[in-house]
Subunit: 351 residues, 2 copies
């Protein structure tokens, strides 16, 4: 498998976004976050997304102009961002920067972001903050999409609604990025496109049968993605999914009630500084202790010791930065399409 | 089944806590929150706990003196409470009051609470805040207890780590209170004591077998409670459990590294005011819309329409306030024991 250099990927992507009309800072931030997704191994939420972002820029469904962002700084720690569908990675980064500044004075900061375009891989934003011993939190829902049914129901109402958190640690930070559903929309679509079966039954068919066949999702009547906890404990995943909906779309005041059709996101961004609570050293002592206890637990399968959230991703990242990123074929194909439609055609690793 | 009047229960409990040395405000708040747990139907986390609280007050493992609480108001929105093992319901209520005041000015407030005694039912705190159109969040772990194993491991390292959130709504607020494990310590203990089987396999035996027999938890080598998501998706419940550990014990700077042995809790309390983000009306419009979409979803089982988090609890509460609380036999027994050891013996509904 060909490996691609991260810096070159960033440059190529940034040039593509620039050519599609995005201003420098928007193009660079979006390119950086997409490549960061692949560096951590999240190829469904990395540079593969660029083709869709570029199409939406061309169609006017996404903006690359930072001037459209409206910031309502309602209090020194509470802001509402109206993103007017600026590219999501730029908006989330701006929201994190805003929260970080508030946290420096107040110990925490919160931004509610409405009308963002798609925000890519949530884990991709965390590392710079955890390395500064801060705790970033990002929650997201997409009010233009419905793929998960309420527990006990058959109709799709809401989205997988991921929640990400960065937990500083001396030996290894925890990079947490999990959806409140069993699997993501991306996994359903990708597995269906490949004609495969899911690793676990995570679909509820439109007739109420649990299934590992993504075709049941796309059938008539349509299926849905099971909430985390599945049939036995899915009331918990459902409750957590509703919490994320409320803390994103409801808090921002823009959501499903408004019937948006543009690929986008409602986002809650927060940064907490442990120095203003129990102290940074005590925080790190505790997370190091907890991580050690987890890693030292007897494994259920001797060949698979306990892994901490982010451990594989950070190991991959070190490897990929040194030796290049082994992009899957579907990602390479998406990049080829994007390059082919641009003036860069013939000058890049993707044609 | 005998029904017990909520107000009488509160008075009896409050008198018991007073007699055990708790000051008036501590006794009344603790009594109120315990009864609120039973009103919502959470009988494992309601007045049943009083007997244990009273024993810990008598043994000096819990305090009833509000004077021991140390408040470090590090910024106007970020405070550290050192609870010195004051009864948990009093401390959490104080933390919520503190956050609510901060939120009135700043849109949000956060308290990290260390060395609390046990904090009972998290859902029991939410209603007064959601009725004021505020969003309360409560996260908790108990660093003196380990019952959940890290995903892929066999040794118990952390606790079920519940997360509660109150979501205002005009027709019905959402009262969310879920642990990041499949089931709680209370359910394991209660089912084991009754010699029964769990409703779903939620135990991982010390040999790595999934089981519905709580005896496998108490065997040698000991079992553990499976994280939410079980074997297929348990990496998500594990990640969320670690997030709650970090936001409670690590943020407070006191946790497993300190080896506490007292029944207690590390707690994160937060209050958000939607008025300082996208606006209260828009928040309520969105949550009402979402709730309606969920309730109107075709049910998987025609006899069991979709229920929203808190819906059953609030219906029970109305019923129980009108007609009394049908306390389960084990709860009545716990109350009888507590009353028998007090000067109230012979003067209450419990002897």
């Amino acid at each position: 498998m060909t490996r691609y250099d991260a810096a070159t990927l960033r440059t190529t992507l940034s040039a593509l976004f620039r050519e599609a009309g995005a201003q420098q800072e928007v193009a660079e931030t979006t390119a950086r976050i997409l490549v960061e997704g692949d560096l951590l191994g999240h190829h469904t939420h990395g540079v593969k997304l660029a083709d869709g972002y570029l199409k939406d820029l061309a169609a006017g469904n996404a903006s690359g102009d930072p001037g459209v962002l409206e910031i309502h700084e309602n209090t020194p720690v509470a802001a509402l961002f109206d993103g007017h569908y600026l590219l999501g990675p730029y908006l989330v980064q701006r929201a994190l920067d805003h929260c970080r500044e508030a946290a420096a004075t107040f110990g925490l900061g919160m931004v509610s972001l409405k009308r963002s375009h798609h925000i890519a891989c949530l884990a991709a934003y965390l590392q710079p903050l955890v390395e500064a011993n801060l705790v970033p939190l990002i929650l997201s829902s997409d009010p233009a999409v419905a793929s998960v049914a309420p527990f006990g129901g058959l109709d799709r109402v809401y989205t997988p609604n991921p929640l990400a958190a960065g937990i500083p640690g001396r030996e290894q930070p925890l990079l947490i990025d999990v959806s409140m559903s069993t699997i993501t929309n991306g996994t359903v679509g990708k597995t269906h496109a490949a004609g495969g079966r899911l690793a676990h039954p995570a679909i509820l068919s439109g007739h109420g049968k649990v299934s590992d066949d993504p075709a049941d999702y796309f059938a008539e009547p349509g299926g849905s993605i099971l909430p985390l906890g599945e049939l036995a404990f899915g009331h918990k995943g459902f409750a957590l999914g509703l919490m994320v909906e409320a803390l994103t779309s409801a808090l921002a005041g823009f959501g499903r009630k408004d019937g948006p059709t543009t690929w986008g996101a409602s986002v809650l961004v927060m940064v907490i500084d442990p120095a203003r609570f129990g102290g940074t050293d005590a925080f790190l002592d505790e997370t190091d202790h907890l991580a050690r206890r987890c890693r030292e637990a007897r494994p259920r399968d001797a060949e698979h010791p306990v892994r901490l959230p982010g451990q594989s991703g950070l190991a991959r990242r070190r490897d990929y930065l040194a030796d290049g990123i082994p992009l899957p074929e579907d990602v390479v194909a998406a990049m080829r399409q994007a390059v082919a439609r641009s003036s860069l055609a013939g000058t890049t690793a993707f044609g």
